[in-house]
């Protein structure tokens, strides 16, 4: 997957977790927490969905890397580059 595809995938997960959110003007460099009011339960869900959909394991000490779209894509790029987009 390319970084752009990974970004789409994260958007898809966010849409799934928070269907009432407007994700159209999400700013990639600003923390999700500031834009979307996600709580700790929701963050766990991003991790769980990555595991469910792509078998990507994010260890607990790396959860901080998923703070914004930009940092998430950067963090996931090496982990997901060999995966095919579904």
């Amino acid at each position: 997957m390319t970084p752009a595809e990974i970004r789409d995938e994260i958007l898809d997960i966010l849409e799934d977790i928070a269907p009432d959110e407007d994700l159209g003007d999400l700013k990639d460099e600003v923390a999700f927490r500031e834009q979307l009011e996600l709580d700790s339960m929701d963050f766990l869900d991003i991790v769980m969905e990555l595991r469910k959909r792509h078998r990507v394991q994010v260890p607990e000490e790396d959860y901080g890397q998923l703070a914004s779209m930009q940092s998430t894509v950067t963090y996931l790029t090496p982990l997901m580059k060999d995966l095919q987009k579904a």
Binding site: A18, P19, E21, M48
Partner: protein
């Protein structure tokens, strides 16, 4: 072999099941009753639909709200706000002999009422609000502590203290007399700061959504499948034996049956401390009217009444029921969509505190007689606070602690479970967990959140 076996198809068990099935676990929900819902089920009688428990779905926040338990559970279960079809209340009342406080969804009306009726307490009430807002419901460590102590340190008028406690204890306090401060804050937010709503179709709509989702994710639901025993080997739960004798294996077990009730099922335990079980049980008297309550001059959604200046929250000590306090609910009095119209019948439901031991000790004939007697007394007590509707009753139903026990198997027919909660959901076995009432969160929304959070904490992290 299941990844997780869940005991109980009430709100908490079904919610936990959805979480686990969504993340590809093999899950089975086992329910002893022939239907789902537990303490908040539904039934049909004499051609009419009834709800067992539903007065109000608490924690109501409007579409688009991102904070609070309702928003949280919708996200976690991947439901849309519309899926629960919640219509907000018209307005509710705390009715004591000389003072009434009205409240609606959101704090505004209650604040105005307190300012008008307890002007000297206006600032004290703001101080109390600050304490409630500071309380962190995800931190278990400050859950305990006496609410009465906090209230009397803040508010100097004892009547206001009793009036605030009345609805909050009624809708979620397992402890007699006093309340854990954490529970008080949770209930205060859910009732006074968020609010009440109801689906036009009643609780069946919520339950059917939960079950449909659970099944569509591959979850298995087995009704008439009571767990008779939890099998234990080398200090771990390894599966369950059903009432039928059938055995199922599971890597872990999540039980919503209650703490004492669950521990009693474990093979390795010979004696349980039954004193730990909850004591607060209720009767519910349902009257079907030939008119909408509004046509009789009654438009309140919920009325919490108490007939003196002191509110007594305890199991009755000298009679089957306590007639001093109760809750009156009219499911008609919600702001339903115009397209829904009115409910087919007028309905008034009244809850009173009951002594389960006394109810349980009656013979079958006495039981029938006492039900009639206490239905009449309950209505007579309630019409001191609302218009007398007795000339308009065309059908009735009543249930008692015996009914609750018979269909949910909770000790003492306790509705809010044990006073000592197991907030972390653990038991003496490393792979047996508790969710629902005895874990800590009560009510429809509370128990759904409980199922979700225990599933997340203990069943999904590996």
């Amino acid at each position: 072999m299941y990844d997780t076996i869940i005991i109980g198809a009430g709100m908490s068990g079904l919610a936990a099941g959805i979480r686990l099935a969504h993340f590809n676990q093999r899950v089975c929900v086992l329910e002893r009753h022939y239907t789902i819902g537990g303490l908040n089920s539904f039934y049909r009688l004499g051609g009419r639909d009834y709800d067992v428990g539903l007065h109000a779905v608490t924690n109501f926040t409007p579409k688009g709200a991102k904070k609070g338990p309702l928003a949280r559970l919708l996200r976690q279960l991947r439901f849309k706000w519309e899926d629960f079809s919640l219509s907000p209340q018209i307005g509710s009342t705390i009715a004591f002999p000389d003072v009434q406080l009205q409240f609606g969804n959101g704090l505004e009306l209650l604040e105005a009422e307190i300012a008008a009726k307890f002007p000297a307490q206006k600032d004290a009430f703001q101080q109390l609000l600050a304490k409630i807002i500071d309380y962190d419901d995800l931190d278990e460590n400050n859950f305990g502590g006496s609410t009465r102590a906090v209230l009397s340190a803040t508010i100097s008028d004892p009547l206001l203290i009793e009036m605030l406690l009345c609805p909050l204890m009624w809708y979620g306090n397992a402890r007699e007399h006093d309340m854990d401060f954490g529970q008080f804050c949770i209930m205060f937010r859910s009732i006074f700061m968020e609010g009440f709503a109801r689906p036009f179709a009643g609780v069946r709509l919520i339950l059917k959504n939960l079950v449909r989702r659970f099944r569509s994710l591959g979850g298995e639901l087995k009704l008439r499948s009571g767990v008779e025993r939890i099998k234990v080997k080398d200090g771990k739960a390894i599966g369950v034996v059903l009432d039928s004798g059938e055995e199922l294996e599971g890597r872990r077990i999540l039980s919503s049956a209650g703490l004492v009730e669950t521990i009693r099922l474990c093979e390795d335990i010979t004696e349980v401390d039954e004193q730990q079980a909850g004591q607060m049980s209720f009767t519910e008297s349902i009257s079907i009217l030939d008119k909408q309550p509004k046509q009789l001059g009654f438009d309140r959604t919920i009325v919490f009444y108490n007939d003196s200046d002191t509110f007594h929250w305890q199991r009755p000590t000298d009679a089957l029921c306590d007639m001093r306090t109760g809750v009156i609910c009219s499911p008609n009095n919600y702001m339903y969509d115009e397209s829904d119209g009115d409910l087919p019948d007028g309905v008034i439901r009244i809850t009173t505190i009951a002594d389960s031991d006394r109810w349980m000790a009656l013979s079958e004939d006495e039981y029938k007689l006492e039900k009639l007697r206490w239905y009449d007394r309950t209505i007579a007590s309630a019409v001191r606070f609302i218009p007398d509707f007795r000339g308009h009753v065309i059908d009735t139903d009543m249930f008692t602690p015996n009914t609750i026990r018979r269909f949910t198997w909770h000790d003492n027919g306790a509705v809010y479970g044990a006073p000592e909660k197991r907030l972390d959901g653990t038991t003496h076995l490393p792979n047996l967990f508790l969710c629902g009432t005895d874990q800590g969160f009560v009510g429809i929304i509370g128990s759904i959140v409980s199922g979700i959070s225990i599933a997340n904490q203990h069943c999904l992290r590996e």
